[in-house]
C-alpha cells in the first residue's frame, strides 16, 4: 500500500518539478509547483508526519504559492520569449555540474540511509508531539523567527506600496 503510494508520489513529484523548471509559462510553472507541493505533503503523510503535511498544504500551497500566482497575474507575465541567452556555463556546464553534484549527493545520502524505517513512535508527527517539543526546546528560535516575519512585512510594504 505505502510502497505503491510512494512510487506514485515519487513519479509525480519529479515530473511536476521538471515541468516547473522547463515550462515557458510562469502560470503553468506555478500550477506544476502546486502539484509538487501537494505531492511533498503526500510524502510527509506516508512518512507519518501528518501535522507537517497539513502545514505544508496550508502554508506552501495555500499561502506562498497563491502569493506567487497572484503576483504573476498582477504583473500579467507572459511566456518567456526565448530560452535563456546562451552563456556556455548556464547552458551546458551548469547542467553537467548539477548532474555530477546530484550523483555525488545521492550516493552520499543513500550510503547513510537506514535499510528501512523503524516503526513510528506512538504520537509521532502529531500536533501534540510537535507542540511540546517546539515550546519546550525550541521556543527561543520560535520567538526569533517572528522577527523574520516583521522584517518581511515591513519590507514588503516599504518596497511595494504605491505611496509611502
Amino acid at each position: 500500500m505505502e510502497a505503491i503510494a510512494f512510487y506514485v508520489l515519487a513519479v509525480l513529484a519529479v515530473a511536476s518539478a521538471i515541468v516547473v523548471i522547463v515550462h515557458r509559462n510562469p502560470v503553468m510553472s506555478a500550477l506544476a509547483l502546486a502539484v509538487n507541493l501537494v505531492t511533498i505533503a503526500g510524502f510527509y503523510l506516508v512518512l507519518r508526519a501528518q501535522f507537517v503535511a497539513l502545514l505544508q498544504v496550508i502554508v506552501y500551497a495555500g499561502a506562498i504559492l497563491v502569493l506567487i500566482v497572484f503576483v504573476i497575474m498582477l504583473l500579467n507575465l507572459r511566456e518567456e520569449l526565448k530560452a535563456r541567452s546562451p552563456g556556455t556555463f548556464q547552458k551546458w556546464l551548469g547542467p553537467i555540474l548539477a548532474l555530477v553534484f546530484a550523483v555525488v549527493l545521492g550516493r552520499a545520502m543513500l550510503a547513510h540511509a537506514a535499510p528501512s524505517f523503524p516503526a513510528p513512535v506512538p504520537g509521532f508527527g502529531t500536533a501534540a508531539a510537535l507542540g511540546i517539543d517546539l515550546f519546550s526546546r525550541f521556543y527561543y528560535p520560535f520567538e526569533v523567527v517572528s522577527l523574520l516575519l516583521v522584517v518581511a512585512m515591513v519590507g514588503a510594504v516599504l518596497l511595494a506600496k504605491r505611496r509611502l
Binding site: R137, Y139, Y140, L159
Partner: protein, 484 residues
C-alpha cells in the same frame, strides 16, 4: 522554560524591542527620520549596556548556555556583539542626513537596521545552526529590503533583485546543508556535529558541511560566490553598502569561525587545502579586477572581497594565532571600510537615474576643497592598503605573522603580493583626491555634522588600533579558546 534567563538574551531582545518601538513611532514622525534614528540609537545603547553587563562573567571564561541550548553566552559572541553594535551605531548616525539627501527618509530604515543587527547578534551568540539560520535570514531579508530602499532608482531595485535571487539561492544550499548535517549528526548543535565529525565522518556530513559553507561563503563574498557584491554595493544606498560590507562580513565570520575552527577544528587537514585555494583565488581575482575600477563604490566592493581573502588566510592558521588575527582584522576592517564607504556617501549624489559623485573623476582635487573629508578618505585608504601607522597595517601584519608561524608560507607570500597590487588602486584614489585638477566647477556637498562625527570616530578607531594595538590584541588572544 526553566532555563530561560532574559538577562542573557537581552542584547538581541533589546534591539528587537526598540525596532518595534521605532515602527510604532514611524507614523508619528513622517518626514523626520532623525527622531526615529534617535530611538534606534537608544536601542543600540541599551543592547550594548546589556552586553557589557554580561561581559565580566563571560570575560572570565564562562560559557553559559540558555534558552534550551539555543543561546550561548561567551566572550567570543559578546565581543562580536559589541563590534556589530558599534557598526550599527555608526551607520545609524551617519544615515541621519544622508537619507534626507537621498529622499528616502523612511523611519523604517532604522527599524530594519535594528532588526538586521538583532539577527546578527542572534547568529553570533549561538552554537546551534538553527539559530544561525534564523539569524542569517533575518538580517539577509532586512538587507534585501534596505538595498532597494531608494526604490525610485532603477539601479537600487535591480541590485536588490540580484541580491535577493542569489541570496535565496544560497540559502537554499544552506538549508539543504543543514538537512544533511542533521541526518548525519542527529542534531544541528555544533557540539554534536563536531563530535560526529570526529568520530564518524560520513560523506553526507562532509557534503552537508560543504553546502553550509557555500551559504556562508556567499554572505562573505568568497570568490566563486562574489558575483553579487560589486553590483549590490554599487546599487544600494551608500550607507547601506557601508553597513552591509562591514556587519555582514563580521557576523558571517563569527559563524565561520565557530563552524570551521570550532566544530570542524579536529579535521583541519580535510578542509585546509580548500580554504587555502579559495583564499588565494579570492585575493587575487578581487584585487586584479579592482585595478580596473573607476567607480569608487565598486572599487571598495572589490576591496571588501579582497579583504575576505586576507581574512581566510588566518582561517587556515593555527587557531591560537589565527582566531586572534581574524578578530583584530575584522575590527580594523570594520572601521576603515565603514569610513571609506561613508566618505563616498558624503561625496556622491544619487539621483533617480544615475549616481554622479561615485566616479573617480569627480573626486579629482576634492581634498583641496573639502580638506577634512580628503584627509579622512586618505587615511581610510591608507589603512585599507596596509600602510603604517594605521589599523590596516597592523591587521595585515598580524595575519601574515600567524601564517608564518603556522608555516603557511605560500599564503603569506601571495597575501603580501596582493597587498602590493591592492596598494596600487587605493593610492590611485588618493592621487585623484590631492593631485588632480577638479573636473567640475560644481561645489561638492557640505559634510553634515552627524556624518563628520562618524568619520572622526572611525578615523580615531583606525589610528588608535594602529598606534596602540596591544590591549586589544591581548584581549583577543583570550577569546580564541572554546568556540563551541
Amino acid at each position: 522554560m526553566a532555563d530561560f534567563d532574559l538577562v542573557l538574551v537581552l542584547p538581541a531582545t533589546a534591539l528587537a524591542a526598540f525596532a518595534l518601538l521605532t515602527l510604532l513611532f514611524a507614523p508619528l514622525f513622517r518626514g523626520q527620520g532623525r527622531a526615529l534614528g534617535g530611538v534606534g540609537l537608544l536601542g543600540i545603547a541599551v543592547s550594548a549596556a546589556a552586553t557589557a553587563r554580561l561581559w565580566p562573567a563571560a570575560g572570565a571564561g564562562a560559557r553559559i548556555a540558555t534558552a534550551g541550548g539555543m543561546v550561548r553566552v561567551d566572550a567570543f559572541g559578546l565581543f562580536f556583539t559589541l563590534v556589530l553594535l558599534a557598526i550599527g551605531a555608526l551607520t545609524v548616525v551617519a544615515s541621519f542626513r544622508f537619507l534626507e539627501r537621498e529622499q528616502a527618509d523612511h523611519g523604517e530604515f532604522y527599524a530594519l537596521v535594528l532588526l538586521a543587527l538583532a539577527g546578527m547578534v542572534v547568529m553570533v551568540q549561538t552554537t546551534h545552526l538553527l539559530m544561525v539560520l534564523v539569524g542569517l535570514e533575518v538580517f539577509s531579508l532586512a538587507l534585501y529590503v534596505l538595498t532597494g530602499l531608494t526604490r525610485g532608482r532603477a539601479r537600487s531595485v535591480e541590485s536588490a533583485l540580484k541580491y535577493f535571487l542569489l541570496g535565496a539561492f544560497s540559502s537554499g544550499f544552506f538549508v539543504y546543508g543543514l538537512a544533511l548535517l542533521y541526518g548525519a549528526a542527529g542534531s544541528l548543535d555544533l557540539v554534536r556535529i563536531g563530535a560526529a565529525a570526529a568520530s564518524d565522518p560520513s560523506p553526507m556530513l562532509w557534503i552537508g558541511a560543504g553546502l553550509v559553507l557555500v551559504g556562508l561563503a556567499f554572505k562573505i563574498g568568497v570568490v566563486p560566490f562574489h558575483h553579487w557584491i560589486p553590483d549590490v554595493y554599487q546599487g544600494a544606498p551608500t550607507n547601506v553598502a557601508a553597513f552591509m560590507a562591514t556587519a555582514t562580513k563580521t557576523a558571517a565570520f563569527a559563524v565561520l569561525l565557530r563552524f570551521l575552527v570550532g566544530a570542524f577544528g579536529p579535521s583541519h587537514e580535510a578542509w585546509a587545502p580548500l580554504v587555502t585555494w579559495l583564499s588565494i583565488l579570492t585575493m587575487t581575482v578581487a584585487n586584479l579586477v579592482a585595478l580596473a575600477q573607476t567607480n569608487v563604490k565598486r572599487l571598495l566592493a572589490y576591496s571588501s572581497v579582497g579583504h575576505a581573502g586576507y581574512l581566510m588566510i588566518a582561517l587556515v592558521c593555527r587557531p591560537e594565532d589565527g582566531v586572534r588575527a581574524i578578530l583584530f582584522y575584522l575590527v580594523s576592517y570594520a572601521f576603515m571600510t565603514l569610513g571609506a564607504f561613508l566618505c563616498a556617501a558624503a561625496v556622491g549624489r544619487g539621483d533617480a537615474r544615475s549616481e554622479p559623485g561615485y566616479d573617480l573623476g569627480s573626486w579629482a582635487g576634492l581634498g583641496w576643497r573639502r580638506k577634512g573629508l580628503g584627509v579622512a578618505m586618505s587615511l581610510f585608504l591608507f589603512s585599507l592598503a596596509g600602510i603604517p601607522p594605521t589599523a590596516g597595517f597592523l591587521g595585515k601584519y598580524v595575519i601574515f605573522q600567524s601564517a608564518m608561524r603556522s608555516h603557511e608560507y605560500l599564503l603569506a607570500v601571495v597575501g603580501v603580493l596582493n597587498a602590493v597590487v591592492a596598494a596600487g588602486y587605493y593610492l590611485r584614489v588618493v592621487v585623484a583626491i590631492w593631485m588632480r585638477e577638479p573636473e567640475t566647477e560644481e561645489e561638492p556637498y557640505p559634510v553634515p555634522v552627524s556624518l563628520a562625527a562618524v568619520l572622526v570616530a572611525a578615523a580615531a578607531g583606525v589610528l588608535v588600533l594602529g598606534l596602540v594595538p596591544g590591549p586589544l590584541l591581548d584581549l583577543l588572544g583570550r577569546l580564541a579558546a572554546g568556540l563551541v
